[in-house]
Amino acid sequence: MIFHKYANPNRFLKLATTIQPWAAGATGLFFVTGLYFALLASPGDYQQGETVRIMYVHVPAAWMAMFCYTAMAMAAAVGLIWKHPVADLAARSTAPIGACFTFLALFTGSLWGKPMWGTWWVWDARLTSVLILFFLYLGYMALANAFDDPARGSKAAAILALVGAVNVPVIKFSVDWWNTLHQPASVVKIGGPAIHSSMLVPLILMALAFKAYYIWVLLIRIRGEINAGKIRALRLRQVHGGPPPIAARPSQGVN
């Protein structure tokens, strides 16, 4: 069996075109309902007041930050082990989305921290690990785009993503340890043990909106990457094809 390089991407493109409108629709729907519940239909918290509304974007963004990294590492592993071309592109396309969510988690966390703790930033274990996660995303993106041959960038970045995935628990553990040694005094435990159902609804809706958004934008990006690959292949054929082949061997028909 001859593995044709673009058989898979073409099938994927077809799949993507069917899913994409649904993902777009779901994103819009969840966003509108989520924002409605988050900003209008839910009460303020008795302890944190209205600032609790920041949680409805902050927590889902933090979830997505972790989720995207896991997805990226898994796609990278699939790309490395089974040499699946779409997996490489998926890993590569996930990184900027994950980085955006990570940035949002940090930014909204900071905006939440100011009224709650009276400071924009505390070196709390959770914030610190998310910050490092953000750096890992930046490193991945920089490496993936540092090569003239994008396939080479994807491979190098895939190894980095896996090394990072091994390191994330170690970093998390060490940051937790470090944080217990240098416990900042002002941290208020947020969330509390039981979360009220009126808060759960907007939280889940926003999480679903983010996830749908991820799928939607991911599909757009992968489609772009696949077509960019086709363009490079065509350009290379212009360069390397040279004069038309003299002897077209019969055994080399379309496989």
């Binding site: 593995f3 390089k5 054929r237 360069v239 038309p244 082949p245 002897a247 496989n255």
Partner: protein, 210 residues
Amino acid sequence: MVLFSGDNLRCFRGERTVFANLSFCCPGGGALLLRGPNGTGKSTLLRLMAGLLKAENGTIAWDGADIADEPEDHNGRLHYVGHADAVKPVLTVTENISFWAALRPQQAQISDALAAFGIDYLADVPGRFLSAGQKRRVTLARIIASPARIWLLDEPTTALDAGAIVDLQREIARHRANGGMVIASTHAEIGLADAEILNLDAFQLTEQAA
């Protein structure tokens, strides 16, 4: 009789198929000459034979066993001469050559290897003083300094003068007389008149098939 062979190879590199349906076969004492215009994959094929690249499809075998199964064993029986000379400027010629020989199970006399390419007078000269042609001779002396069955030579005559090419011809003949194999991509005459010729132009994919 041992056989170095490749079957139905297809190589995909830099987002294009370089060649496909390529097979080759080289017995002990044999020689294979790779021909074809630029970009048809001569270097690629040599790197594939060395095990630096993996074929998309097909296998390369030594004596029937896939070389990918025991890559270190395969490395032990081949010498590869690529475009770069790998001569360290701060090491002397002898140090340069003996480092590579020391990584291998069998070693010959370094002085003999130097003599074979007429650079014994350079033995203690650091690499940074060498001309391009002299560096090339050092690289070729490296493959004499430790015996190996397969020589993979990618344009070995680059920067060589006529005298050095004669030396190379003699060494290739000696290598083959001892049962060695030579696979080379070159347009120069290096004593491979009886070699089998593999024209890579014949293995290009046509536009609609690619």
